[in-house]
């Protein structure tokens, strides 16, 4: 009979163990609950990295497994962040407004409170009324539902139009870029209702929580690790079954899958929407750690970075995506944070803040050309897993007309 899911996919267990160990070590070394070797800001960086790993898993599902190079998944990531940011900002502002109005002699009416919140939040864009999209922002439960529903719905509608008209390949990639660009440009407007280019800020302060950021940062690290673990497990389960077979088939030969009787468009739409929801959840965990979200976060380049991470890490294997996202984004933080030492060449000094993108671009090209399996391919070297042994190769001239078997004897 069939072996169990874990037995067939040992990498899942190894991954989860590594993730748990990582979380434990960071906790022990943190300022909040441990010996204080790792600063709180670095804990936040690590927590954010876990969220980026989760969105990379989503990207790998849609690109590495289904073969759809979506260059718009950061739009869903950002939307998820906006959705949770709305509640965080509303609730925290409400607490402040209630606090300040409680000093007055006459108790404030609820409409006065709401006006006060509106003034605080939208004063920066010259308005004070709540736009319609903030209708649920006073309820954490509803706003949490919106984290999944809004990006999911956008993906569903976009995907329905795109896949139904059989847009594929590079045209689809351009279309997704256009989507994320259009969304970013829309959000940049002051009357978009999400504070234009100011974005939402102060998200690191959880309303009603008095614990210090040292502790809050760890809560988010744990939540991010849990989300990554669950997301990874779910993704691994999905691709291990027949659905995995079908989407791999769509990647390799879409027409053939169609003639087997599978509705390719439906499957693409399902995977696209599902990965959009994962990306949104990752975003909702990321931005409270970042503290601020603005429309620049969903600029087209962000989604391209995501593709670069997955390509460098190794497409078509989930841990490859995680390794790529973690490695490249942490390295990027190091290089662009001014921590990497400059290289004086005498006539010119290489400043990594300027040159990091060049290095990243070069390594992307090199990986694509010479190591298409990416960093995940190193695991194959360790486990000595070989690529399919394709027989029927040309024999050398000395072997004459012998068949392969005869020649090797």
């Amino acid at each position: 009979m069939q072996r169990s899911f874990i037995a067939k996919n040992p990498s899942v267990l190894i991954f989860l163990a590594c993730l748990a160990l990582f979380t434990l070590i960071v906790t022990v070394l943190s300022e909040g609950f441990g010996v204080g070797v790792i600063s709180t800001s670095f804990v936040k960086t690590l927590g954010k990295t876990l969220c980026l790993c989760l969105v990379a898993v989503a990207m790998d599902l849609i690109w590495g497994f289904t073969g759809i190079l979506s260059l718009g998944h950061f739009a869903f990531f950002g939307l998820g962040g906006y959705m949770i940011g709305m509640w965080l900002m509303y609730e925290r502002t409400r607490l402040i407004v209630v606090e300040s109005l409680s000093q007055t002699e006459i108790p404030a009416t609820s409409s006065e409170i709401i006006d006060g919140i509106g003034n605080q939040i939208f004063g920066v864009v010259g308005s004070s009324d709540f736009p319609l999209i903030w209708a649920f922002s006073d309820s954490l439960v509803l706003q949490l539902a919106m984290v999944v529903l809004v990006p999911g719905l956008l993906a569903l509608v976009f995907g329905w139009f795109a896949f139904r008209s059989r847009v594929t390949g590079v045209y689809l990639s351009i279309l997704t870029q256009a989507m994320t660009l259009a969304l970013a440009l829309y959000l940049f407007q002051n009357d978009s209702g999400l504070r234009g280019n100011n974005g939402l800020s102060g998200l690191q302060n959880l309303p009603g929580v008095t614990a210090s950021q040292d502790e809050v940062s760890l809560w988010f690290l744990w939540a991010s690790a849990l989300a990554l673990g669950l997301g990874y497990l779910l993704a691994a389960w999905v691709v291990s079954g027949k659905l995995g077979s079908v989407i791999l088939g769509i990647r390799d030969n879409e027409a053939r899958v169609r003639f087997l009787g599978y509705s390719v468009e439906t499957y693409k739409l399902v995977v696209f929407t599902f990965t959009a929801c994962i990306a949104a959840i990752a975003g909702a965990l990321y931005y409270p750690q970042a503290g601020i979200i603005n429309p620049a976060e969903i600029a087209p380049i962000a989604s391209i970075y995501l593709a670069v991470w997955v390509a460098i890490g190794g497409r078509g294997r989930l841990y490859g995506a995680v390794i790529g996202a973690a490695f490249v984004s942490l390295l990027s933080t190091w290089f662009t944070g001014g921590q990497a030492p400059d290289i004086p060449l005498g006539f010119y000094t290489v400043k990594w803040v300027d040159w990091w993108l060049v290095l990243l671009g070069l390594s992307f090209v090199v990986v694509t050309l010479f190591a298409p399996k990416g960093m995940g391919g190193l695991v194959d070297l360790l486990t000595q897993r070989k690529s399919p042994n394709r027989h029927g190769a040309d024999l050398g001239p000395d072997d004459g007309a012998l068949r392969e078997q005869e020649a090797s004897q």
Partner: protein, 246 residues
């Protein structure tokens, strides 16, 4: 014999070129048919029309006992209705094992939710093993299909077709690139399949068609030039002029 598929008066134009010109074609319930014709005669386009890949400009394609029109259905729906297709080039999913290829083709619900929840049970595994036995790939079940030889891939694709349990099989050049022994096995597979369902074989190789020993339809410039036994059509002067004579 009941008519399973009826194509009548179908025409297709690509950028002014008439690929199919007023083509009519019928096949019964359990019939083996060979379709031959020179390059550009419209053999592959004919298959494209039946499987829904190409929409004809005019004409009718009627399918099955309920006389459904296939023209309003998409590829997946047509495949679910019971038409299986094998391509000229062997197209199996090379990154997956022979077993995964066969499991994917097995006749099962095709909706995404049931596919997501699907886990192979013993009966399905036995079914794939039996199919693999039939196509001579029992030993290779757990190998990646990309490792198979050309002929084995062709058989795997035929096996996937059989797993779909279609009522009509459209097979495009099944013997291309095969050794004589492999061809014989392929002939046997097709003859066996044609006992229970309709099979249409598009083929260039006359020897192969002769072994199939069935009714032959000759296509030329998008319409039927002659139809009948192989001896009948090969003695037809028109056929000799456009095809065999060259």
């Amino acid at each position: 014999m009941n008519t399973l598929l009826e194509v009548s008066g179908v025409s297709v134009t690509f950028d002014g070129f008439r690929a199919i010109n007023n083509l009519s074609f019928q096949i019964g319930d359990a019939e083996l048919r060979a379709v031959i014709g020179p390059n550009g005669a419209g053999k592959t386009t004919f298959m494209d029309i039946v499987t829904g890949k190409t929409r004809p400009d005019e004409g009718r394609v009627i399918w099955g006992d309920k006389s459904q029109s296939l023209l309003k259905m998409n590829e997946a729906k047509i495949a679910q209705a019971g038409i299986g297709r094998k391509f000229q080039k062997p197209t199996v999913f090379e990154d997956q094992t022979v077993q995964e290829n066969l499991l994917m083709a097995l006749k099962k619900p095709r909706g995404w939710l049931s596919v997501l929840m699907y886990r192979a049970n013993t009966a399905d595994l036995e079914k794939t093993a039996a199919l693999a036995q039939e196509i001579g790939l029992l030993e290779e079940l757990s190998r990646k299909s990309g490792e198979l030889s050309h002929g084995q891939k062709q058989w795997l694709e035929i096996g996937m077709l059989l797993a779909q349990e279609p009522r009509l099989l459209l097979v495009d050049e099944p013997a291309a690139g095969m050794t004589p022994q492999e061809r014989e096995h392929t002939t046997d597979l097709l003859l066996e399949a044609a006992k229970t369902r309709a099979v249409v074989v598009v083929e260039h190789d006359m020897e192969f068609v002769r072994r199939l020993n069935c009714k032959v339809t000759v296509l030329h410039e998008g319409s039927v030039l002659a139809e009948g036994s192989l001896d009948h059509v090969t003695s037809n002067q028109n056929v000799i002029d456009v095809y065999l004579g060259r």
